[in-house]
């Protein structure tokens, strides 16, 4: 058979001009994606490094175990704010996780109907609502009826911010699980609900965890919706019906304060907040790591 000259030319493995061009392109694209990776990672490292650099002088044991000192006194710490942030995220997760995960399951497994389309659309819109507006909503539905600011109100505001992220990632991750596992479960006479919860959900767990983490991390850094819900508190409080301090609100207050040492403490708080999120990621990764690697 005659070999097509053009194909021969393209497929030849020699040192033709085309061959060299192809290699060049390959290297070029590898370099470009490598550079993009750097661009994506460098800001994180810069922020991490800069907050540490600025806040280092305020970072000491006292910062973690002491309460804020009154204006004019130096030293003190943000123990209450750290506990406050943990409580607020905890409350938010308590409300948002069941709702978000169950809604995600509904959308993925039963959601190919008008209701599903509507819920999906609304979740997307909700995730785009400015957080300060969510704060106002929580103010109206929790703070006004209770007649005072509270950790509970802050938790509700954070939950509203978390729900769409959790819902949509849960849905996406469940959808990624191959249909064959679903069929295998059903074919064993396992009900659809059990198939979803015991077979599909564990398979999608890693991805869902990443989504939850993103939601938690975002909530941990939220300031605006806490300003008129949890308000902030310079004193020790773990009561969920009382105003509560949080790292993000402390950063807001301390960063705009006219005192040098407060500004430093704001940087330190920023560093602690980033570290917390980092730590949270690591813990989540570790807890949900698969016994078998692949999934």
């Amino acid at each position: 058979m005659e070999r097509d000259a053009e194909i021969q030319n393209v497929m030849t493995t020699g040192q033709s001009l085309y061959h060299r061009w192809r290699k060049l392109k390959n290297h070029g694209m590898t370099t470009v994606s490598g550079l993009c990776l750097l661009v994506a990672v460098v800001p994180l490292l810069l922020i991490f490094g800069y907050t540490l650099y600025q806040g280092a002088s305020a970072l000491n044991l006292d910062f973690f175990i002491q309460m804020p000192k009154p204006v004019g006194e130096t030293g003190g710490g943000m123990a209450n704010a750290m506990v406050g942030t943990a409580i607020l995220i905890g409350l938010g997760a308590l409300f948002a996780l069941p709702v978000g995960i169950l809604a995600g399951i509904y959308l993925a497994e039963y959601g190919s109907n008008p209701l599903g389309v509507a819920v999906r659309f609304m979740a997307d819109v909700l995730s785009g609502i400015p957080s300060i507006v969510v704060g106002v909503v929580a103010y109206i539905i929790v703070v006004l009826p209770m007649k005072h600011f509270s950790a509970l109100a802050g938790g509700v505001a954070l939950a509203i911010l978390m729900i769409p992220t959790i819902t949509r990632t849960t849905e996406e991750m469940i959808r990624l699980v191959p249909q064959s596992f679903r069929e295998a479960g059903l074919a064993l006479g396992i009900s659809q609900w059990k198939t979803t919860v015991r077979i599909i959900l564990p398979t999608a767990l890693k991805g869902i965890t990443t989504g939850i983490l993103l939601a938690l991390a975002r909530a941990a850094g939220e300031t605006a919706p806490l300003l008129f819900t949890a308000l902030g508190n310079r004193f020790w409080s773990t009561a969920i019906d009382q105003p509560i301090g949080s790292l993000s609100v402390f950063i807001y207050d301390y960063a705009k304060a006219p005192f040098e040492d407060w500004n430093q403490q704001a940087w330190a708080a920023g560093f602690v907040l980033i570290s917390l999120i980092f730590l949270l990621s690591l813990i989540f990764r570790f807890v949900t790591r698969s016994r078998y690697g692949e999934f």
């Binding site: 064959s180 679903r182 069929e183 074919a187 064993l188 009900s191 016994r291 078998y292 692949e294």
Partner: protein
């Protein structure tokens, strides 16, 4: 339909409702476990199966052959109502021991009519043991001792026990494709189904694993009713007692395997089994 040699298969008393409808040709001797009458299956507007009437003989192997897209998998999936899971719909009746499958709860039906798929699909987050135990566990059996017993028996039945008995806690994905498929067969057997449907169970396997699966099918038929879809006519000839030939959504011919392969009665069947079209 209606060839001169048609003999009504001997049927148990509770199957009278189906006897008044015309039984398919070629059922010489085997009592039916499942009876399909005038089954039409659809995917949206696509009409995938046309008026298929076919019996699945009890404790024998029914092979369903035919070219790609002829509806043989669809028919199989109608038998345990997996067809509707993929969004399809069905008209006609299919009975299991004389009871209309449409009136049986789909979950209950699938406990009685198990299925092995084309691609091995062990649950990725579970160990080999857990894979086999899954069907029982999720239906409420937690007696560890009993589970161990059943897992061992099913793995033995699937001719996999000797290969995995020391690694029951390893991932179901860690073994070879052929072993995975036998694991899936063991998993299906664990819930003690009456009928086992196999959708091209060996098509993704190498010849050695295929031989093992075929051997297994041969052994299983003393206890189970088996329907197997296959592309491979030699396989159908080797493992089955009855063979049904589907073409473009229609049942062309059904008969005892030996008879169908030696003296096919329809031109299309003959063309297909001699390889004149595909």
């Amino acid at each position: 339909m209606g060839s001169s040699e048609t003999v009504s298969p001997p049927q148990t008393t509770d199957m009278e409702s189906s006897t008044e409808k015309q039984p398919p040709e070629g059922h010489e001797s085997f009592p039916a476990k499942m009876v399909a009458r005038e089954v039409n299956a659809f995917f949206g507007k696509t009409h995938a199966l046309h008026n298929v009437s076919l019996d699945v003989p009890e404790k024998h192997v029914l092979a369903i052959i035919g070219p790609s897209g002829c509806g043989k998998s669809t028919f199989l999936r109608c038998l345990n109502r997996m067809h509707e899971v993929a969004g399809g719909s069905m008209k006609g009746t299919i009975t299991l021991d004389g009871q209309d499958t449409a009136s049986i709860d789909a979950v209950d039906l699938r406990r009685r009519v198990g299925m092995v798929f084309q691609k091995p699909n062990p649950f990725p987050t579970m160990s080999i043991f857990d894979n086999v135990a899954a069907g029982l566990r999720f239906n409420g059996m937690h007696n560890r001792k009993k589970l161990e017993e059943i897992v061992e028996r099913c793995l033995r039945q699937a001719a996999l026990w000797d290969e995995v008995k020391d690694s029951l806690n390893k991932s179901g994905m860690s073994i070879s494709g052929g072993q995975q498929q036998r694991l899936c067969i063991a998993r299906t057997l664990a819930v003690n189904p009456e009928v086992v449907l196999m959708d091209e169970p060996a098509s993704a396997l190498d010849p050695l694993s295929t031989a093992k699966v075929e051997e297994l099918i041969y052994e299983l038929k003393s206890n189970y009713t088996i329907a197997i879809v296959t592309h491979n006519m030699q396989q159908a000839a080797r493992v089955s007692d009855m063979t049904a030939f589907f073409y473009i959504g229609e049942l062309i011919e059904v008969g005892e395997t030996k008879r169908l392969f030696t003296t096919p009665q329809k031109k299309q069947t003959e063309d297909y089994i001699t390889g004149r079209f595909g």
